[in-house]
């Protein structure tokens, strides 16, 4: 893989994105549009970080759903139950999620392929079970309501939704820069090498498990922050964050957007969040349409929608080649 070259096009793209980021909260003034934009931005953070582990490192896991949910619950519990100042809960959430992520991934990555997916899926279910059982702390199935607003001085974010809009944008832009930088760094290349040619990579001295655990832990940081913002913005933390439907929506963003691209899942996050909202008049049928969309994309566009930008060139080398086959096993 060639290292990123800063061409004029890239600089122009970056300028355009920044301009759009500055303008969007001022232009999109309706409550519905702002709500959709904020949700899209937060989902984009989760999807693109999940993609680092799923697309680049080839670890098919459900851990990011848990990171997102734990982030939102740490925010709610620390502010509501322990009266911790807001902002501190962000630090706490990152710390908690990093510890959980390190422990679970160190254990789960002893396993291979499908077992990693199943164990991390069980982790999300464990979170739901714990939340339902610890009613006094977590509010049980109802969740915790009344998570305080983020505040700067006397300015409460809730008084102007644009502030959450900007906060979510800053998080997404910072996380995207970090993820792209990581993906193209030696660390990212070692992940891709482990994904595609594990035996060779290991024989060249790449510590397989350490790199993979690191990938999960690093990508858990923006994910947990997105969870925090989600709780502060919606003023609730509810077990719905672990639900099958949100899990599927986020996973769809990663795969329909294009695994192993970072940008694809971000694009898909906007398309799918807005799309499912636009189709809401169809009731249950919208989920059936999304389901059909998933199957058709995987069948006819395995590289995801991000692969469309190079439709004239020969097909990209299968970005979805998440290495689960046993050939790589030691």
């Amino acid at each position: 893989m060639i290292r990123d070259r800063f061409t004029a096009w890239r600089i122009l793209g970056a300028v355009l994105v920044l301009a759009a980021a500055l303008a969007a909260p001022q232009v999109l003034t309706s409550a519905v549009a702002q709500n959709l934009a904020i949700l899209s931005l937060l989902y984009a953070v989760v999807a693109s970080n999940w993609d680092l582990t799923l697309g680049y490192a080839g670890i098919f896991n459900f851990a990011h759903v848990a990171f997102f949910g734990i982030g939102s619950y740490v925010a709610a519990i620390s502010t509501l139950q322990f009266d911790l100042p807001v902002w501190w809960d962000l630090v706490l959430a990152v710390a908690v999620v990093m510890v959980v992520g390190a422990i679970v991934s160190a254990l789960a990555l002893r396993l291979r392929g499908i077992y990693v997916a199943l164990v991390t899926f069980a982790l999300t279910q464990l979170c739901v079970a714990l939340i339902n059982s610890q009613k006094d702390l977590t509010g049980g199935p109802v969740g915790l309501i009344g998570v305080p607003d983020l505040q700067i001085g006397d300015f409460a974010f809730g008084s102007d939704p644009r502030s959450y809009f900007y906060a979510a944008e800053i998080l997404l832009i910072a996380s995207t820069i970090a993820m792209r930088w990581l993906a193209t760094s030696n660390f990212g290349l070692s992940l891709v090498a482990l994904r595609d040619y594990e035996n060779y990579a290991v024989s060249r001295g790449i510590p397989a498990r350490r790199q993979r655990v690191l990938a999960i832990v690093i990508s858990s940081i923006p994910t947990s922050l997105a969870g925090c913002l989600y709780a502060h913005y919606l003023i609730v933390a509810s077990p719905d964050v672990f639900s099958f439907s949100l899990t599927t929506l986020l996973l769809t963003m990663v795969l329909v957007g294009g695994a192993g691209t970072i940008y694809g899942p971000i694009l898909a996050a906007f398309v799918l969040t807005v799309g499912t909202e636009e189709l809401s008049s169809l009731g249950n049928f919208r989920y059936m349409i999304v389901a059909a969309l998933i199957v058709l994309t995987l069948r006819f566009l395995p590289g995801g929608i991000w692969s469309l930008r190079r439709w004239r060139r020969p097909a990209a080398p299968a970005p979805l080649s998440v290495a689960l086959d046993e050939k790589g096993a030691p």
Binding site: F60, L107, R110, L111, R112, G113, I114, Y115, A117, L118, V119, F121, A122, L123, Q125, L126, A129, L130, N132, S133, Q134, F244, S245, T248, L251, T252, L255, G283, N284, F285, Y287, M288, V290, A291, A292, I294, V295, L298, R299, P302, A318, L320, S321, V322, A323, L324, D325, E326, A329
Partner: protein, 287 residues
């Protein structure tokens, strides 16, 4: 004590039915069917719709027959739409997890649209209470405890004695060699999928007699089946059955002695412990 064991055996029997279907498909196709729980749900709904007075009202025996026929067809359709295009490709495992999740979303919302969200109940296959060794047991529970092992023994005999069953195992062991011996791999795959769907359907009909049926009734059994197959070892039928009863009993004892809310924590701890010692489950082969 005996009541705990009975409840553990009932769950174990149901988990064994659900998980053995998953394990069977994994063994021969090397894919994991996340839509398995939805097949269970669909089986229960068809049985209810055909049998109940507010449906077609044809009585339970016809309902069960219709349900099992439906599942054979549904299993084959699921295979053709959601699995076949990806089998044998480099990323089949991942793609099929996604397509089967998509298939389950589709089916759940279809059922919700057609039958509505209200709970339904299927008549019990057998009613009343039986006393075994001084313990009163609901007859439906007793039937579950007896029927599931019979079915699984039947499955085992089919896989080890019958030519078609041997063909399934041959394909699972070495697809190329099986093909050279004139086995149609395609037909084996369809058959495996249909059999797995029927096993899920039987579990659905039994569950429908014990609890209400709803569009998401398959989710919980599927999650338990995940734990079971990881615990017992994917692709190993004896491991899966052993795992199912172990998980059923652990769950029953844990919810009695530690409390129902801590049971998932206990299950997760057991799961992690087993995997740390034996990364492919009790009797599994490497993934």
């Amino acid at each position: 004590m005996s009541a705990i064991i009975v409840s553990g055996l009932v769950s174990g029997a149901l988990y064994a039915l659900v998980a053995s279907g998953l394990s069977l498909v994994w063994g021969s196709l090397g894919v994991f069917n996340f839509a398995h729980g939805v097949l269970l749900m669909a089986g229960a709904y068809v049985a209810w719709w055909v049998s109940a007075p507010d449906g077609l009202g044809l009585g339970l025996p016809v309902g069960i027959l219709a349900s099992l026929t439906f599942l054979i067809v549904a299993g084959a359709i699921f295979y053709f739409l959601l699995v076949r295009p990806w089998v044998g490709k480099a990323n089949a495992e991942l793609a099929v997890i996604m397509t089967t999740i998509a298939g389950s979303i589709f089916m759940q919302n279809l059922v919700l649209e057609v039958f509505g969200g209200r709970f339904k109940t299927i008549d019990q296959l057998v009613e009343g209470t039986v006393t075994v060794a001084g313990t009163p047991i609901q007859a439906q529970n007793l039937l579950t405890i007896i029927l599931a092992p019979l079915l699984l023994v039947g499955l085992w005999l089919f896989l080890t004695r019958n030519r078609t069953g041997l063909a399934i195992r041959a394909v699972a062991q070495n697809q190329d060699a099986a093909q050279l011996f004139g086995i149609s791999v395609q037909r084996v795959y369809i058959l495996t999928f249909a059999m797995s769907a029927v096993l899920a359907g039987v579990a659905g009909i039994l569950l429908g007699g014990l609890f209400n049926i709803s569009p998401d009734m398959g989710t919980d059994p599927l999650l338990r089946a995940f734990v079971v197959v990881v615990f017992g070892g994917l692709g190993s039928l004896p491991g899966t059955i052993l795992g199912a009863y172990a998980i059923g009993l652990i769950e029953a004892f844990a919810s009695y002695y530690i409390g129902i809310y801590w049971t998932p924590v206990v299950l997760f701890a057991v799961l992690i412990a087993v995997l740390v010692v034996r990364p492919t489950g009790l009797m599994g082969r490497p993934a």
